[in-house]
């Protein structure tokens, strides 16, 4: 079948099972949008307010579905607006296929109107990128991009398609997508060494990361904790993989992790790290983290082994497969009173949340939302204090229900991500926790939520300051609040009304409860502006480079 390049692209998207994409039209993608117009029975295209929102939406979609998210943007500024979203997906290992138009090949390299070298710009933040220079290779390039985005350690892939490649004709030969086989060989000797290391330990601690969510390995992880009678702490990216009420679960560890998780980790003689890259935010002082204990590192990316933390033993492979192999091989540890020791830590006074929940504050606000949501409902966040409070106080019960920017820490991520997640879950209830700082970055996407009538509830934890930076200024910069006190007078409720959605402002817990009951009944977007104190802190906190001995428990 002889088709134009743009039509081939759309055919291959359909081939790959894509039914929802995000993007923004423009001059260099007119032909692609024309092909999408003709294919609207197969692919829904969501037009956002800004290309950044579209990449975050594709990212959120991918996180909740596990399938590559797709974003389309025009050349030049359209393409550069994708950059933050692509970097965000890269650092959190999110499968993403970004498609950009570019000027015709004859105009490339001449600083033509809206020309930019987007493959050059995105080289360090993609698994790989392509510029299509031969229309006969377009279909296979798109197929390769999807395969690459989802295989191994997932990540973003960009395809830049010059305008003349979209309009040239080529023979389209349909193909079925290759099955994703993460069945790379697991080295037997490394498995044996891992089993021996665990067998010699008395006090193992499972440190679970985002790889467990990506590889759908929750069941195996919990089975391992049962078998070893040992605690599980997670990184922020690993949070939703372990149900909050699992008896082994100690919460998140790291800079703003719970006391119990950090304390148990410091008492362990073996850390079993599963699907994680030992981010500096998660480890704190690396010397102290490693000293006095062994490290078993399990990850699909060989380059993560010994990159940040030197392991005693390591197994490279899909974590679900590796955990299964360990369980089937009868993994065991030395008998000890470890479980009892951990129980004591978990029930200690230091492990209780410092923040009360009998009046309106971040904790009670998040708990009020939590009490009204179902286990499968998705919670997205922006970046800052509200994000960490959500990580600490929200009760995640199912994998892929927490959509947050971990590695890049992108303020303004949340709204786009919530939109993508909402589409990924068939337009089911989605909650976005954000703050006045993050919300102001990309609030424009409220318009997208309204046009698509998405049941997204935005909860703004509003403290009128850039709270996380203020917290550091308070603790480490002697209260010099340089440029973090915002003199904004935004009326969030009225703003939301102006966008065409329903807005609320609450100053008490009772008012919040009433607003939540009403807002969650609305079939469409709503926003609640929750007034909180500007000096509420995210605690506990282990200062950068610190250890459990430096933990700040009270504000």
């Amino acid at each position: 079948m002889l088709l134009k390049g743009a039509e081939v692209l759309v055919q291959v998207l359909i081939e790959q099972g894509v039914d929802c994409i995000f993007g923004y039209p423009g001059g260099a993608v007119l032909d692609i949008y024309d092909a999408l117009y003709k294919a609207q029975d197969h692919i829904r295209h969501v037009t956002t307010c800004h290309e950044q929102g579209a990449t975050h939406a594709a990212d959120g979609y991918a996180r909740v579905t596990g399938r590559p998210g797709v974003v389309i943007a025009t050349s030049g500024p359209g393409a550069t607006n994708l950059v933050t979203g692509i970097a965000n997906a890269y650092l959190d290992s999110v499968p993403l296929v970004a498609i950009t138009g570019n000027v015709a090949r004859a105009l490339i390299g001449r600083d033509s109107f809206q020309e930019v070298d987007i493959t050059g710009i995105t080289m360090p933040i993609t698994k790989h990128n392509y510029m299509v220079k031969d229309v006969d290779r377009l279909a296979d390039t798109v197929r390769a991009a999807f395969r690459l985005a989802a295989s191994g350690r997932p990540g973003p892939v960009l395809i830049d398609i010059p305008k003349d490649m979209q309009t040239s004709f080529t023979e389209y030969v349909p193909a079925t997508p290759a099955a994703n086989t993460n069945n790379s060989r697991i080295d037997e000797a490394s498995l044996d060494a891992a089993l021996a290391l665990i067998a010699s330990s008395e006090r193992p601690y499972i440190y679970s990361g985002g790889g467990v969510v990506i590889s759908d390995a929750s069941e195996e992880l919990l089975a391992l904790a049962d078998r070893l009678e040992c605690p599980i702490g997670t990184s922020m990216m690993g949070l939703s993989a372990v149900p909050y009420d699992n008896p082994h679960f100690l919460g998140m560890s790291g800079m703003h992790g719970g006391y119990a998780a950090s304390k148990a980790l410091s008492m362990a003689d073996l850390i079993i790290a599963v699907g994680t890259r030992f981010s500096d935010r998660a480890t704190g002082n690396k010397q102290a983290y490693q000293s006095g204990r062994k490290i078993l590192h399990i990850d699909i990316d060989a380059a993560e082994i010994d990159k940040n933390i030197v392991s005693s033993e390591s197994v490279v492979g899909d974590v679900k497969q590796v955990l299964r192999r360990l369980l089937n091989a009868g993994v065991q540890r030395q008998p000890s009173d470890w479980a009892e020791q951990v129980r004591k830590v978990k029930s200690s006074a230091e492990s209780r949340p410092e923040m009360p929940n009998d009046r309106l504050n971040p904790r009670s606000a998040i708990e009020a939302v939590n009490a009204r949501l179902q286990p499968e409902d998705v919670v997205a966040t922006d970046v800052g204090q509200h994000q960490l409070w959500t990580a600490q106080y929200y009760h995640f019960r199912r994998p892929r229900t927490f959509v947050t920017s971990g590695g890049l820490g992108t303020m303004g991520y949340g709204f786009g991500a919530a939109i993508g997640a909402c589409f990924g879950r068939g337009k089911k209830r989605t909650v976005l926790f954000t703050s006045d700082g993050s919300f102001h970055m990309n609030m424009n996407e409220m318009a997208t939520a309204v046009s698509n009538n998405l049941p997204i509830l935005v909860v703004v934890l509003n403290n009128r300051v850039l709270g996380m930076v203020r917290q550091w200024q308070t603790l480490f910069y002697e209260n010099r609040f340089s440029n973090t006190s915002l003199a904004r007078r935004t009326n969030y409720a009225a703003l939301t009304d102006a966008f065409g959605a329903k807005g609320y402002r609450v100053e008490s817990l009772e008012a919040l409860n009433n607003a939540l009951d009403e807002a969650l009944g609305i079939d469409g977007p709503a926003l609640i502006d929750v007034c909180i104190d500007c000096d509420d802190k995210v605690l506990p906190m282990i200062p950068p480079g610190g250890t459990i001995n430096d933990i700040i428990l009270k504000g």
């Binding site: 360090p124 690459l148 993460n182 990316d301 060989a302 380059a303 082994i305 010994d306 990159k307």
Partner: protein, 171 residues
Amino acid sequence: MEEKFTLSILVSNEAGVLTRVSSLFGRRGYNIDSLSVGETENPAFSRMTILSRGDVATRDQIIKQLQKLVDVKSVALMPPESTVLRELMLVKVNAELPTRAQIQQIVDVFRAKIVDLSPSSLTIEITGEKSKLDAFIANIVPYGILELCRTGVTAIGRNSNILTGTEEKEI
């Protein structure tokens, strides 16, 4: 402990590959002491030789990060004892009549070659290991080096050690 090492990398012979490899070194803070690249017996592949330095952990990271690049087909650490290492250098040296014979002697000792001459200068071509080239420079310096260029080291395994690439790999 920092040490020098040689990597031989088989890459796809496509536009942008050199940038992908060199920018990986740049953004992760790895050193490149020398880099040379050229097409192989299979026009689909190019072969890069990179001289770098760092401790063992850095060296292993470099190799693993390189292996994650789609265009990198294989990476080999080339042990000095089983590798033929060569570099080519062209030197233009001041050579007035009275010193020409002396320079000719040095050229002979090093088995170098005079490839061009003018009334006041000689251009010398020399091939060998890095240490030989450095020694040659040390001997020629007194006459006045006008211009010097080196290709960077290229390397091939001794005996039947052959670097082959795989088209399909999982990243």
